[in-house]
Structures are given as structure tokens and as C-alpha cells.
Symmetry: C2
Subunit: 455 residues, 2 copies
Amino acid sequence: MTRLFLLGLAAAIAVPAAAQTVPARVAQLRDAALADDYAWDITEGLTTEVGPRLAGTEAEARARAWAVARLTAMGFANVRIEPFELPVWTRGFESAEIVAPFPQPLVVAALGNSASTGPQGITGDVVGFDSLAELEAAPEAAVRGKIVFVSHAMPRTMDGSGYGYFGGPRRQGPGIASAKGAIGIVVRSIGTDYHRNPHTGTMQFPDGVRPIPAGALSLPDAEQLQRILKRGRPVTMRLVLVSQTGRGQSGNVIAEVPGRDPSLPPVLVAGHLDSWDQGTGAIDDASGVAIAAAAAKRIMDAGQPLRTIRVVWFGAEETGLFGGLAYQKAHTEPHYALAESDFGAGRIWQVTSKLGKERDAEARALQAALAPLGIVPGPTDKAEGSDIGPMLEAGAPGVGLSQDGTYYFDYHHTPDDTLDKVDKDALRQNVAAWTAMLAVLAGPVNAEPKRPRGR
Amino acid sequence: MTRLFLLGLAAAIAVPAAAQTVPARVAQLRDAALADDYAWDITEGLTTEVGPRLAGTEAEARARAWAVARLTAMGFANVRIEPFELPVWTRGFESAEIVAPFPQPLVVAALGNSASTGPQGITGDVVGFDSLAELEAAPEAAVRGKIVFVSHAMPRTMDGSGYGYFGGPRRQGPGIASAKGAIGIVVRSIGTDYHRNPHTGTMQFPDGVRPIPAGALSLPDAEQLQRILKRGRPVTMRLVLVSQTGRGQSGNVIAEVPGRDPSLPPVLVAGHLDSWDQGTGAIDDASGVAIAAAAAKRIMDAGQPLRTIRVVWFGAEETGLFGGLAYQKAHTEPHYALAESDFGAGRIWQVTSKLGKERDAEARALQAALAPLGIVPGPTDKAEGSDIGPMLEAGAPGVGLSQDGTYYFDYHHTPDDTLDKVDKDALRQNVAAWTAMLAVLAGPVNAEPKRPRGR
């Protein structure tokens, strides 16, 4: 044990987060939110009345209209859409089958930005690799003219760290395979479940690399293909991945709880409105937009906070963070803090923040307010978020409320991302945490609570 | 407490199954089977090298060829196919979507014997019912010209009894809906899982009732449709269920371990070789044919039994018990006992039998031999089985080794019925139970164990 460690330990013992005094108004708002229905109503409504809402499509436009109507009905101020344009990729018919030596269908889903095979499809011999590194190391002669299969072995983790680490086959695999002359690629889904629902997701071909058809196989299908390849006979696959590309419009939906002092920078709470096209985007990210808006609504119901709370439902996150980048470009004004919920609907287990040294007391107050919800203090030099990521990287202050993602990659980017995957109690714990966070950061509401506005 | 009950209790206490002496040869065969690999190898091989094998199709013919080769290689005698003809229904393209008020796709699978919509599909208003009884009670005017939706609420049970009880919407729903003038029907899948994999299965339209398109929605989709219907606005659905019908050939694959006394009736152990078309039929019923054959093989490896063991891998079970009925017609000779494994690959928890009063000692010996595997004695006036059902009903003796079906209807008749759902240890416990059962029923093997034949 080093002296530094002991000092740190002493400090932690001296001021445990849970022992700090939490203002009664914060505790009351937090605990009342454990009976919240706003978040469930938004999650249920958006997934049922809109359903899938792929970035840049007519379905996402319907989601924006739904969002404006709902946020207005809830009583938020300055409800508006900030539109932007973007490239749009849409899925068509898709299928995969082993032609030889053991004819049978496989379940496949095209990756976002896959080239289209056209309805006639492509047929080729399969060359398999157990990792992205194996594909990278392979000579061109082994790959040219073939359909590449890349596997990997992503383990289940609570913090979802496997997604970055094992996401290579999806993100870089298609580009590497194409550069080596492959005519197509299928990868083992970046997922942790054994259901026949492949995990889609976006990828980009590097400049100068010809786009090729690229799909994901479900885990049972990927392992089936591995077993077939291990028999040692040539394996022929037919792959049909029809898709279309073009340009379209998306937009960020913004709503506010005006603060008592409009000159102060706003606290921004967010999620993303778009979803992948095969599920109804319940945990990715209807629950996220619902949590952010429900927490803001609960503060609004209690009165007017010192600082403005800005709720942002970003558009077009899934296909390239287009909403976050458009917001960053349009909003150069400072923010008091940024936070985004985009890791499912599991219980929050940790709070992180990056508010700066001078706001350490605030970080401590946040930790103390969240501790009774079973949320442990995490790093105070770190905040994360998908759409808000670029702004955080540019130095904006932020808060991270880390959700338990143990089961997130069972459903992520699959047809299985549906309402039944959302646990009401866990959702309420999320709302309670976000409400407490806003109660701390947005400053005290005025003494005269208003009558709740809207539904 | 009645005197009869007390007498029964006294009898049960006097001779508990587990306390009976189990011959050492039976115990040895049973316990050695807990390290069995034959069943896994068959299950893995059939699902990998053939995959889906719908009754009457070219894929099922490949499965028969695979079966003959494998059973011959294992050293069985009299390996043969007994062919028969049957009507064949095959699936084509299928899709469902809500057209209004909330446009979105739903995941559907046609039921076996569904009428085809043709590629253009049908579009109609949806009328929903929460049970088959509600549909039955509905006036024709409420149904005519509409697409019917029927829900139900099948609970998870260990013995799978919900399948019969809650199977009505699939089995009778289409006929009832058509008789009332519906243009199509979708039912909530007979299943217990929340994945977007609908549960197909066969159904028959009654004589004189016009076949209509009939599909199953996955549970998330069925509940989505219920939520949409509850909004109270007219709901329009477009349904495309393309299918084809014709006639084809199937067959039962038979293999034997010849007994020392060929004049004695054989013990028949069975499963079914065909599967539904979307999964690879791992738990329904590759594991079943594997368990039956592995147990017979283990007896064969130990020497020659007194009675012939006949392994039957039935064809075309799923679409109407065609294999079982063809076998019954062709084999009017008596059987010493019939047993079939067709309820997945879960652990066996109960043994039932229907061997007749005069063979009560044999039933007891069976109970005693199985008790150390955690298998409890069940009724001795009851045996069950799909293909063997008609023969049992006609009075043939039989044994039932009841598997734990708690999770069976998560996968049954879905694309999710794949190899990864088979637990190796549970499979081995099954083989041990079937081996012990054969050791008891087929009579002692001759003293000179043979060298194992085949792989």
C-alpha cells in the first residue's frame, strides 16, 4: 500500500458520499420519482404508435411529429425541431443460404451502409476467420473473390465494454475484406444472445475502398457456419442483401423547462429518437428519451428551477451521430452540464462526472443524492454519451449515469428490441436518478410549486 | 383419510422404488451412459449436416439418407427406409404490417396448411379476440371480411400441458374464423418466450370450410397488436403468406439390434426425423432420435439382448403423424413396449408406463432403475408419445420418460430451435434413462460383451 493510496482511502472514509447531507427537496423529488409513470408512458407510446424509426426515413419524421405533440402536451416550453440533412441507407429483402455442402438457410441482417447485392444476390466460396486479426493477417490470395466470414467471442459484461473491443469485425471487417478483394462479408453479430435475430449496426468503408455487401449472422447461425467450415469441405454461400441509399431529412426535437435566470447556461438531458429498423427501439432508445424527459417533467411539476433544463431528443444517432453533430454545430453557447441516456433501460449502478475541479462539491452532492438508489460513486473526470460525445470531447461538462448493460447486447440492434424488454421498476429507478441529478444541477425550484401542466 | 388411501400409502412405504434391487448390469449400463457421446454426435451431425428437414421435402430425403448412413456406421442391423406418400405444404415469402393507424411491420410465420395469399397479399381491417371462446361467441357480422386476431395466455409449465389447453387458437382458430367469413387470421404464437420468432405448427381446416391464410405472430408482435387495437381506432393489416401445396414422399428409418430370441416381440424406441422448416430441429426432434439410438447402441455395445430393439426415426411427424400412422398400418405384429422421445432435450423427471397388470414387477423394476437419475415414479396406467400415440391408443404397451419442458415452448416450432439449446449434461441424463429402460425391458445381454461396432 502506498502512502498516496492511504491518503485517498482516508479521504474516502472521511467524507463518504452517502453520509453527506442531501437537501430534503432533492430527496423528495428523487423518491417520488420511484413511482413515475411519465417514462413508461413515453416508452410505450413511442414504440407502439410509431414503432421502428430509422434515421432519415418517413418513420423517423412521424416520430418527430409524435415527439413534438407529446412534449407539448406535457407542458414543456420552446418545443421545436431543428432539422438537418443526411445520407440515408434503407434495408430491402435479405437472405443467406449455404448452397454446398449442406444446403440450408442462415439468418442474416445487412449492416448499415452495406452495398446492395441486388435482388439476384451473389454466390461465392466462404473463407472463415476466427478473429479480425486473422483476417488482417490473411494474404489477399486467400480472400480475393470470396465471401469472408469473421467470428469473435464477445463476452457479457456489465459495462458493455465488449462492444468497443469486439466490435471490430462489424466496424472494420467489411473495409478490410473489400481491400483484400472479397466479394462480400458476413460477421458474427456483436451480441450475447442465442436467438436467431442478427444484430445490425452501422459501418463505413474507408475512402477509396469499394463498398461490398456486408451482413451479420445471428450467433446460432455464425456457430453453425463455423461447424460447417470445420468439416473441411468447400463451403458455398448465396447472399442476398438488397438495400438503397439516398439523402433525407432528420432533426433534433428540443423542449425546455425555462430557468428563473435565462442568462445561465442550460442543463442538457438527452436520448435519441431514431432507432434501428427491425425492432421498435424500446431500449435503444425510447427508454432513454423517456427517462430524460420524465426527469425534466418532474422538476417542472415541482416549480421553476434556477437554470433552464433543455431536453434534446436527437435524430439519426444510429447511422452516424448526425443529430449530435448538427446540435454541436448549431449550439456554440456554453452548457452547464450534458447527460444522455443511451444504454438501455437497466438499473443505474454508478455515477460519473466531469464537471471540473472547481465544481467538486457539486460532484460530491450528486454522489450523495444518488447513493440511496444503490448508485456508487465513479470517476469524477469522466462523462460519456453517444450524441453528446463530440461536445464532451470538446470540453463541455457532463454527467454519466451508468446503466447495467449485462443483458443489453442480447437485444441491441435486433428485432428483439421491443417494449417487453423494459422493466418498469428499473425504468423508475432511472427516472429517480435523473430527477435527483437535475435537482442538484439545475438549482432549487422556486418556493411556490406550480400545478402540474399537461399529462 | 380413507382405508384405501392408507393401504396404498403402506404399500408405497413397503416397497419404495429406490430401495428395490437394481441388477448390477442395469446400473452399470445406466451410469456409463452418463458419459455418452453418441447422442450429442447424432444431434450435432443431423442439425449441422442436414439442418431444417420439413416433411415431404428434398431436405427430409437428405435427412433419411444421412440417417441410413449414420445408423449403418453405428453398427445397427436391418437399417432400412419404409417409404410413404403424403400431402406436402411448403412456406414461401411471408410478411405482415400494420397499414393504419400506426404503420409498422410485424413478424409473422404461416401455420402449416395455411392458404396462400399469393405474392400480392391481402389487406383488411383487424378484429381482435382475447381467446378462442371470444371468437366462437362472436357474431358473423363482426368477423366477415376481416382479418381475425386471436390471443390467449399460455403459462409456462413443466409438463407442457399448456400446449394442448392453449393450442386452440392455432388448431381450431383458422377453421372457426373462416366459417364466420374471415379473410385471414393471425394468432398469438403458442409459446412462452418474448423473442421475435413466431411459433408455427400444423392445423387443418374442417371439411367444407374454405382454407384462409393463417399465421402466428411472435409474442412481442401479438402484444403490440393488442396495444394498437386498444387505442380504439380502426386497424388495417396487410398480410402476405405465400405457400405451396402438393404431394411428396417421406419415410420411416428403421434400424435394429437383433435379439437372441427373434420370436419375441421387439422393444421399439423412437423419435421423429423431420422438423419444422425454420429452425434446425435440434430439440424437436434431433435430440429425440439421438437419445433413442444412443441408448440402443449402448445396449448393443454391451452384447446381444434377449429381445430385439427396434429404433424408429419416424418421418413427417410435424405435419400430421404420417410416419406413425404408416408404421402402424405396416406393422401389425405385437411390440413388447413402445417409447418415443419427442419433448425436447430437458432432463427426465418422471417415468410412466402402461405395461398391464401382469407386468407390474417390470414397471417397478423400471422405477427402481431410474430413481438414481432423479426420476420419480409416475402413473403405471399411462404412456404417451406423438407417432406412437395411435398404437398406444390401440392398446400397445408403452413407457413414458417425461422430460422437463419448462423452457420447451420458448423454442418449439421456431427458428430458435437450434443446437445451442441442447444441454449436453441433460442429454446424457436422457441417454442414461433410456439405456436403463432398455436394459430392463429388452432382457439381459449375453454374457460375452461384443467389441463395440461402428462409431
